[in-house]
Amino acid sequence: MTKTIWTLVEIENGQPARSSLEVLGKAAKLGRAEAIVLGAQAAEVALMLGEYGAQKVYAHADATYDTYLTLPATDTISDLLQTRKPDLLLFPTTYDARDIAARLNARHRLGLITDATDLQYEDDELRVTVPWGGENVVTATLPHGPGIVLARPKAFGVEKVASNTAEIETLNSPINSASQSIKILDRVEVASEGPALEEASIIVSGGRGLGKPENYKLVEELAKVLGGAPGATRAIVDAGWLPYSYQIGQTGKTVKPTLYIACGISGAIQHLAGMKGSKFIVAINKDENAPIFAAADLGVVGDVLSILPQLIEEVKRRKAH
C-alpha cells in the first residue's frame, strides 16, 4: 500500500530550505509525499514544492509562524493529524523542526527516531537506519502506527522530479493566542568571511592539538587561502575557544565537503560522525595512534603548528601560478 509521508518544509530567504528538500525528495521515493509549509511566504513556497516531489502541500500563509516559535506550528500539524492519517512524519534535523517534533511526540504519543541516515519500507514495515556511536548501526522501527523520523542533514540529496504540480490545500484556521508565548524579538546574523560551514566544499578544522586558542588563527588562515570555511571539534568549543556554530560532529554540524583538513584533531567518534562523509580527508596530528588517521586519505604525523604556516605559504605560492 502506498505510504503517505508528511514533511515539514522550512522557508529560508523566501525559498524552501535545502534540508527540507532533502527529506521531501526522500519522502517522494518512499510513497506519496505531502509537504506542510507555514509562514508569511508559505503560499509562494508551496508552488515550488511539486517539482521536488510533493504531491500535496498544506500551506498556511501567516506571519505568526515566523514570529512565534514552535507552538503555533505544533498546533497546526497536531490539528491536521486529527483528521488525516499519514503513515509517517519525516522532518529535517534543524533547530526549529527538532523543537516541533519533541512536542508532537509528547502530545500524540508518537514514536520518534532521530539522526536517521536512511529509511525504507520492507514488507510494509518501516526500517530506519541510525548510526550509533561510531561502531554500530541500528535498524529501528515504529511499531505503534504513525511516528516521526528526523533525518540527519545531507543524508539525502536534493532531486528535482519531472515537472510535477502539487495539489495545494490552503489552511486558514486562526492561530491560538495562548500558543504565542515563545517570541522572536530579534534576529542577529553573525558575519563570517567565506562560505558557510554546511555549504563549503573545503573545510579546515581545528582541535585540542592546536594547544591554545590563539593558534586557531592558523586554521582560519588556511581555510581562507583555500577558499573554504573553518570548523572545530566539540572539545575546543566546550573549552570556549569558539562559538557553537563552529562545532562539527554528532553534536553540532554534519558536513560533507570535498576536502576536509583536520588539524590537531584526534578523531573522537563524535567528531568522526560529523565529517567522515567528506570526499577527501587530510589529517595532521602529532600522535601516530590518533584514530583520525584511520579515516584519513592522507595522514601526516607531525607538529601542526610548524606544518600549518608552511602549508599556508605553499598553497598561496601554488595558487599564484
Binding site: 533547530y95 553534536t251 587530510v282 592522507l298 601526516v300
Partner: protein, 261 residues
Amino acid sequence: MKMYVCVKQIPDPNTVVSRLDPDTKRLVRSGVSLVLDPGDETTISAAIKLRDTSGNSELTAVCMGPASANEAMRRALAMGVDRAILITDPALAGSDSLGTARVLAEVLKKEGADLIFCSTESTDGYTGMVPGAIAEFLGIPQLTFAREIKVEGQKATIHRVTQAGYQVVESTLPAVVTIASGSFEAIYPTMKGIMSARKKPFVQMSLADVGLDPSQVGEAGARERVLAIGKAEARAAGQVIKDEGDAAQRIADFLQRYQLL
C-alpha cells in the same frame, strides 16, 4: 525562583567507546566508567550563575537513572546545586525519550518548577527530544539552544543559536530552557563544595513515589523498537606519512593531484 536542572549519568565520552548490547539492545553500562554528562556540567554552571544573580532562588538537580547515578548527583551538588532528586526504579530501564520526559515532567509538576534547565541533548543518546517533551507535558514554553539567558519578572530571554548567528527569544515563565554545549564557563567543584555536598538534601524516589504506572514507562512504554544492531562500515584507510620537513609540500601535492587547489 524554584529552579531545576535535569541531568544524566552516561559512559564517559572521553574514555569509553559507547556500545550497544546486541541482546538487550541497550547501552552497555556495566564495566565502563560512568560520569555526569559533560554537557550537563555546562548546563548546571549556567543554572548556578543565574541562581546566584536572581536572589532568593533554589536550584535542584533531577535525574532519572540507575542507582549508580548517585555519584553524578553528588558531583552536581558539589558544583553548587542546592538539592538533588534521583528517580530510580527497575521498571524505568529501557525508557525512551518520551518515557523519560514523562517521569521528569511528573516530578517537576509536583515540585512547582518556575524554570527548568536541560542540556540541548545528552552526550550518549543525542536525541535532544526530552526537554521539548517535558515542556509539552507541563504545557509550558521551551526556549532552546540558549547561549545566554536573562530573567526579569515573569519573563525569560535567551540568545538562541541558529545556523547564521542567533535569535533573541523571550517567553513567559514557567519555561524549559535548553543550554547549548560550551556556552557557559564550567564551574569546577571545590573541596569546600565536595564537603558540603554530603550535607545537602538528596531525595530518592521510586516510580510509585512519582505516581506513574509501569506501563507508561520503561521498555513497556517505549514507542520505538530496535530490530537489529549491526557494525558500522569502516572508511578505507589511506596513506600515513611522517613529517620530515616536507609535509607542507606533500599535502600541497596531494591537493593538486585531486584538483583541490
